[in-house]
């Protein structure tokens, strides 16, 4: 009974309605604290999902004006290996802004970027970029669309057999017939923008992680795209590299009037530059708004995530049988075997 109360699905207390109120951000602090007991073996995140399944909350789309939206995702459903990665997700990415998509590891943030880039096909719903449904484009149309998208991969994805200069020149050589002198000027301009003009002769293997990402960033902007997608740009970076990348993303977005989508779970750095934030967990958008709005959301789960706290509704322990029972089980089995 105690466990059922904690989960809150037995209709006694706390009721689904209380949890739904919490999901919508209505103030009821005392009950929220009880519902989202830190020791509960099921995270409140799962509780939210159970409740939003029982009582679907309409997606908060329509926040941005139609003309403002560059990427529109509607009722997105996506499965991988039988696991539902996205369950009816709808969100909009506004033009000219930095939109952060955050959430715990393994929630499908990178998958979302691949869906936007047309590398994966959704199982339901659609993703539109500039009003065109991505997965309905022919290969040629998709490639034309991608010329206006830049993507910074987590690993940098630099071509290991080309040096820094050739890596940045690669898209120009593939898609344009510019004279070599102009290719050189463009490449040097982009490398200057990321501060690595002096490293143009180095091979990717000679670069640090942060430098590799900056080169990849120079390559992503060399065709002057309208949008750049950043996949975990800050992961594994030292504080200086991280600061450089934060500044670069911000400056490039403003200077080149880009639309940026930053997928990350580095909260502090991402929130510092984001204009709008989506929090995704277990296949759903669990919160959205400006960084200030997200900060003020009363949900303990969001608070725990945003502040990186060890204690909170997300349990430290993976679900397991009772600790004492588990420890004593071998002793009991051993004793029984002796008695026999």
């Amino acid at each position: 009974m105690e466990r059922a109360n904690r989960v809150g699905l037995d209709g006694v207390y706390p009721s689904p309605w209380h949890c739904l109120q919490d999901r919508l951000g209505f103030p009821h602090p005392s009950r929220t604290a009880e519902i989202l007991d830190c020791n509960t073996p099921i995270s409140d995140n799962k509780l939210f999902l159970a409740l939003t399944t029982l009582f679907p909350v309409p997606a908060m789309t329509g926040i941005f004006a139609e003309a403002e939206i560059l990427v529109s995702i509607r009722n997105l459903v996506f499965f991988r290996g039988g696991r539902k990665i996205f369950d009816n997700v709808s969100l909009d990415i506004p033009r000219g802004k930095i939109t952060a998509i955050m959430g715990p590891s393994g929630t499908g943030k990178t998958t979302l970027l691949k869906l936007i880039g047309g590398q994966l096909r959704p199982d339901g719903g659609h993703v539109s970029v500039e009003g065109r449904v991505v997965h309905k484009q022919s290969r040629k149309e998709l490639y034309e669309m991608r010329k206006r998208m830049g993507m910074l991969f987590q690993s940098g994805a630099l071509l290991t057999d080309l040096n820094v200069y050739e890596n940045v020149a690669f898209p120009l050589r593939e898609h344009t017939r510019l004279p070599e002198s102009m290719v050189r000027s463009l490449v040097l301009m982009k490398l200057q923008a990321v501060g690595l003009r002096g490293a143009r002769q180095l091979m990717p293997g000679e670069l640090s992680g942060g430098m590799a990402r900056r080169v990849a960033l120079a390559r992503a902007i060399v065709l002057d795209p309208t949008m750049i997608m950043y996949d975990e740009p800050f992961t594994g970076q030292d504080p200086i590299s991280m600061g450089v990348l934060v500044k670069l993303i911000h400056n490039l977005n403003d200077g080149l009037e880009l639309t940026s989508i930053v997928v990350s779970h580095d909260v502090r750095e991402t929130v510092a530059i984001a204009d709008y934030v989506y929090l995704i967990s277990e296949g759903k958008v669990v919160a959205q708004g400006t960084p200030e709005e997200i900060e003020q959301t009363p949900s303990p789960w969001i608070h725990q995530f945003m502040h990186g706290e060890a204690d909170g509704p997300v349990p430290f322990h993976f679900p397991a049988p009772d600790y004492a029972d588990d420890l004593l089980r071998y002793g009991k089995t051993f004793a029984a075997s002796i008695e026999v």
Partner: protein
């Protein structure tokens, strides 16, 4: 019992699905054939990588195989007083069978495994995804040059193998065992037919080139993007190539020489 039948069915379906994927894959590669000439520098670079760098191993192997053939052939032929036909035996064995087959096996081990590992690693390090996002088709930029380089290199390497093998056979047969030099070469010239032996050998090595390179590039492209996945793909590439070469050798031999 039911479980094992279910597993068998599941495995069969997976294999068929993979076969279908590989057929679609090679179709896309073949349709990109004209692009190879637009990227001729990539093709020559790959011919150097898979072909030229295989010359040493193919030459050394060919030389030893030729020497062994000559030694074994001399022992058998001398029992019948037919050691003067040693040149024919060595050349025919090499040009018809050993040249294409052993070269294909060596190629699978040296160049095929390297192709699989290289492409698999490119996938694991997101280089292929990166290219796709830069609107560059990796099949045309990465796979096609490697595939056509393999197809072009294999017949040349097989011809080299046979040539060096004949020299090895000559070295042992004439140089060490005392077979008459004139008989060695004249018998060979008289009995080796250009169409039946040499052209058929070239056709075989061309087919093996297609098979081995197809398997190598597909396994790399289809590899799981992890270090373990790339390792497994490389092993599969060599094993499947060897089995496919031996099986297709039988089929081709039956077609070429079966009615004689």
């Amino acid at each position: 019992m039911l479980d094992s039948i279910q597993t068998l069915g599941q495995n069969t379906l997976q294999r068929l699905e993979k076969l279908g994927r590989s057929c679609l894959f090679i179709l896309r590669v073949l349709t990109g054939f004209p692009d190879v000439f637009l990227r001729f520098r990539l093709l020559t670079a790959q011919i150097y990588s898979v072909g030229v760098l295989s010359i040493v191993i193919v030459s050394v192997s060919g030389f030893f195989v030729g020497m062994v053939l000559s030694l074994q052939g001399y022992n058998v032929l001398s029992d019948f007083g037919a050691e003067q036909t040693l040149g024919v035996m060595v050349a025919a064995s090499l040009v018809r069978e050993l040249g294409p087959v052993v070269t294909a096996l060596l190629f699978a081990g040296r160049a095929g495994s390297a192709l699989t590992a290289e492409i698999g690693l490119m996938k694991a390090t997101e280089q292929l995804s990166g290219m796709e996002m830069m609107a560059v088709d990796p099949l045309r930029r990465i796979i096609s040059p490697r595939f056509f380089a393999g197809v072009v290199s294999m017949p040349l390497l097989a011809a080299l193998f046979s040539m060096v093998g004949v020299i090895g056979g000559y070295f042992v047969g004439v140089g060490l065992l005392g077979v008459d030099e004139g008989a060695f070469w004249s018998q060979m010239r008289a009995k080796i037919d250009f169409h039946d032996d040499i052209v058929n050998g070239i056709i075989k090595s061309f087919v093996f080139g297609v098979i081995v390179t197809w398997i190598a590039v597909f396994e790399g492209y289809d590899a799981l993007p992890t270090s373990e996945g790339v390792g497994r793909a490389t092993t599969r590439s060599v094993v499947y190539s060897a089995l496919a070469v031996l099986a297709w050798d039988f089929v081709l031999t039956a077609m070429m020489y079966g009615d004689k």
